[in-house]
Symmetry: C2
Subunit: 582 residues, 2 copies
């Protein structure tokens, strides 16, 4: 069916919307693909919906190709299953909650692990029914603190969520791997540039997980990677390259110095270089001890000290993940007052040990490393305190910030950081959810087997924005042909009646060749039409212009900008169709 611009429900805008910061937001609004309704809630206009549906179709094809079976659950979900996994509480304010007229509690589903587990438990009872992959493509809801960037972070969004059920770990690994490959095919077909990063499972529970991040400077997720080895990880999941232990023999004994008023790392380094310690001292030579209180679920608050090189700050996202599921809070002045052995600015391992404070150190604090650190008295530090000889910790913790240039954990080269947009996430959940619902089936040996589970998501509607972020220029959008709302944007830039009729006929011929045509048949100037064509971003622009009289139309590629003339005649439509098909 040919779509005519004179009838299409679209109005393009010359100016960027006032609240738009990122290119995809600006362009999708200006080109009339989406419209805001309320914070984090958008409407899809015909052009936007066409792109959304094309992405959905590709996702569906690849999910079916790995044996996924599509089903569809409600978005409105009762409270009880989420009580069983404690997520009714854990979700906090991040989900939308409501009550029906009888006062029963519901939420708008942000993800469906509980319901899929219950469904599989309800239907299947034998190991013969597995492996099983079920998926749905459905609106999900999250009450984001800060909806932002147009449709990149919204409160109602279309997601593909799938769930694998297997009877053993090898099965789960295979299902996980199949999803990983399907996701790669999906993002490749969508022409999204992405990286797969190691991730942490967080509130989802489970063991292994990876994120698919679309590379984008406007992304909210920071990740690091090593160009040499391909290692990539979410900042939360980066493991620190652990230096080899150093020989302790021959290292000088520690010496306590009066360092004066040196409660900060900077002031301590300044002092160290003002006296002769035999070498130049940097912050990396100092050991900073950061004090926290932590509380395990259901437990009491306890002290925790974290020792890390003085040139590093704590990264609170990494810290939170490392301590999860415990809560934590940095120690305040009130707390310090309660513990006189903690001399703020001069805390050292000695006092921590003497007072049985749990002490975790950065992985760089290896055996044999020598540090300048607090001596547990005001104005005093100790120089040459050697790990493994003069002090020891209760373990290590991944809480220090990750920096560009840090060595990759595989030793292949330096890490560099980049920003990305999460477009997919795959989890090996294991038995967290099947345990909650006792989802057992009869095994081959006649004994019950607890199912093991994976969960896999793709942000379908977000991908519209992600593709727009990665494929645009200053003139407008540039859709990859796999998701473009139309194959050809046919611009009538000639007022001559014969040319107009010829263009309509050409559109009809292309349509018969299964080429989706947007025909700009409006009574507007060629300039207005060209500007709109560039903005809308259909990959091929065909111009029926002045050349029509000379028997040629112009074929322009929106990606390359290349233009060529094609002769009008019987084979015109097939020629264009061939070019479009690539």
């Amino acid at each position: 069916m040919i779509t005519r611009m004179s009838e299409l429900f679209v109005r393009t805008l010359r100016d960027d919307p006032a609240d738009a910061e990122v290119p995809s937001h600006k362009l999708l609004i200006r080109a009339g693909y989406v419209r805001p309704v309320a914070p984090g809630l958008y409407s899809w206009l015909p052009l936007g919906l066409r792109v959304l549906r094309k992405i959905e179709r590709i996702v569906r094809e690849e999910m079916n190709a790995i044996g996924g079976q599509e089903i569809l659950l409600p978005a409105l979900l009762p409270r009880a299953p989420f009580e069983a996994t404690n997520r009714w509480t854990e979700y906090g304010e991040s989900v939308f909650r409501l009550q029906d007229r009888r006062g029963n509690d519901y939420l708008l589903g942000p993800t469906h692990e509980e319901l899929f587990t219950l469904m599989v438990k309800g239907e299947y009872s034998s190991y013969k029914d597995f492996p099983l992959v079920l998926y749905q493509i459905q609106n999900k809801y999250r009450d984001e603190v800060r909806p932002r960037a147009g449709i990149l972070r919204v409160r109602e969004f279309l997601m593909k969520d799938s769930y694998s059920f297997d009877i053993d770990d090898a099965g789960l690994a295979a299902s996980y791997h199949a999803h990983r490959e399907a996701y790669q095919r999906i993002f490749d077909r969508l022409q999204v540039r992405y990286v797969i990063v190691s991730a942490v499972s967080g509130a989802m529970g489970g063991s292994a997980s990876e994120e698919f991040l679309a590379e984008s400077p406007v992304g909210e997720d920071t990740f690091v990677r090593c160009r040499e080895s391909g290692y990539a990880a979410n900042v939360e999941a980066v493991t620190t390259a652990r230096p080899a232990p150093l020989p302790i023999d021959g290292l000088p004994e520690p010496v306590v110095y009066d360092t004066g008023d040196t409660p900060t790392i900077a002031s301590l380094v300044e002092w160290a270089n003002s006296v002769d310690l035999g070498r130049t001292i940097t912050a990396a030579d100092t050991l900073k001890n950061v004090m926290l209180k932590i509380r395990e679920p259901g437990g009491d608050w306890e002290l925790l000290a974290i020792g890390l090189p003085g040139d590093r700050e704590i990264d609170e996202r990494r810290l939170a993940v490392a301590l999860a599921p415990a809560d934590y809070v940095l120690l305040g002045d009130d707390d310090f007052a309660k513990y006189p052995f903690l001399v703020k600015g001069y805390i050292g391992p000695k006092s921590l040990r003497e007072n049985n404070v749990r002490y975790l150190v950065d992985p760089r604090v290896v055996e044999g490393s020598s540090w300048i650190t607090g001596a547990d008295a005001p104005g005093q530090h100790v120089v040459g305190l050697v790990a493994g000889r003069d002090f020891s910790a209760d373990g290590t913790i991944e809480a220090a910030e990750v920096r560009d240039g840090d060595p990759s954990p595989d030793g292949a080269g330096p890490l560099i950081s980049a920003r990305g947009i999460e477009i997919g996430h795959i989890f090996q959940l294991g038995r967290k959810y099947t345990d909650a619902f006792a989802a057992d089936v009869l095994g081959e040996d006649g004994k019950p087997v607890r199912l093991t589970m994976g969960s896999y998501g793709i942000g379908v509607s977000r991908l519209v924005a992600v593709i727009a972020e990665q494929h645009h220029d200053e003139l407008g959008l540039r859709w990859p042909s796999s998701v473009a709302p139309f194959d050809v944007h046919l611009v009538i830039a000639n007022k001559d009646a014969e040319a107009r009729a010829g263009a309509a006929e050409l559109a009809g011929n292309l349509d018969r060749l299964s080429v989706d045509v947007l025909l700009d048949d409006r009574q507007a100037s060629p300039g207005v039409k060209f500007t709109d064509a560039e903005l809308l971003g259909v990959p091929w622009i065909v111009v029926v212009g002045r050349g029509w009289a000379d028997g040629v139309v112009e074929l322009r590629n929106r990606f390359s900008g290349q233009t060529r003339e094609v002769s009008v005649g019987g084979s015109l439509a097939p020629e264009i169709a061939a070019a479009v098909a690539g």
Copy 2:
């Protein structure tokens, strides 16, 4: 793609679910098409989702064919637009309401008139942009008092809602007519038996509306129709055939009688036939006066009397529609005590008139009709009270029950009643919503024109149940081919390896001919497989059975039950494909 029963996520049940009353509910559960999650909330399993998507596609095709443009709005909607039309209040408990983390009010959209009006107002500004038809296919939410009958009445359901915008009444009439015809094509393609009935607009506002009701004994809507003329109307919308006025000249004067203890119509009729009134009296000869209090929006309670033939009861659905938007309540004993002139059981028009009580009568109370009615004193009635001579009313009201055999308003024959399930509803809304948002565009003469609007709905997910209601037998479902989950159910009923391989090859050949095949390759008895095939209701069942050795397979039509043998050979798949294509 061939679907194998051994892998399909389905489990059929032998027994009806305990809570299922209607056939579609029983069969859709037993055949594994849907599963309940909570009251009025269902999941769609692969078979059910296939049917749902096929219906959705037919709806989409026909909406596109009348120039409808598909868009997609959020289901989660902010309060403000619904305040502008007062529906935030009017919806009462029938919608799901919730607040976000900032305390802002939202609802889950039951219908989208407000949002579509705002969207069109936001995009378009000239008469040239019209007519315009926009639609979406989207989950809708209603907090039903009594979710029932499986997926017939649920709280989350898939609906196609469309909205037409025109600059004048003729445009609206054309858009309405186009929808009416599109709906007829849709329901015809779905092989749904339906009637189009006149309806009342109710809370939607607007002038004209019709309902599409699927004929079904389990329907919640009662309608009447005249076989002779084709007149059909929702009970609420039936207009009473008004008898011709009768000559008054020569009618005897009214006479007041002591009727004793005769406060009911039955006792009054008994009295009337115990004295000689010159003819046999029936309840239809008496005039019953029913007392109510009504209150217009924002007004005070006022008395209202309704006079109707004594053989008719008030139909409260019709009464509510006739009085809308006023509230009403039947007069209680307390109220009677307040008005001594109302002698309960003996109320007559005289006292109502003397005390200025508003008095509406049934359309059958025509001029010249003579009645036995109350004489406003205990134990007294008046006989021969003639309308238009001895009393008159302030108007007529359509509040009496409609009965089988009542004459059609067009005089063509008797009305008969039937039950139906609402599957579509079309409204000429006029300017109710465009007035609320001042949705004007520039007219041809340069002056602003207020848009006029229509609203049109189809219950897409409900249609799955409706089709199941109309197309099943005692063995199971029987899907019309336009919506069947598969074209062919290929049953392997032969354990022979060659037959199994032949069946798989046949499935492959059918698949290549674009025939959707469900291959029952399970290790189960032929009996189990046949039972499941009948239950699932795929329109063609192909059996690779004992005949395989003799070179034949069986081709069975699920609708007609007819069976024929087809020879195995090179043309087997094309022959079956031709049969399937009809």
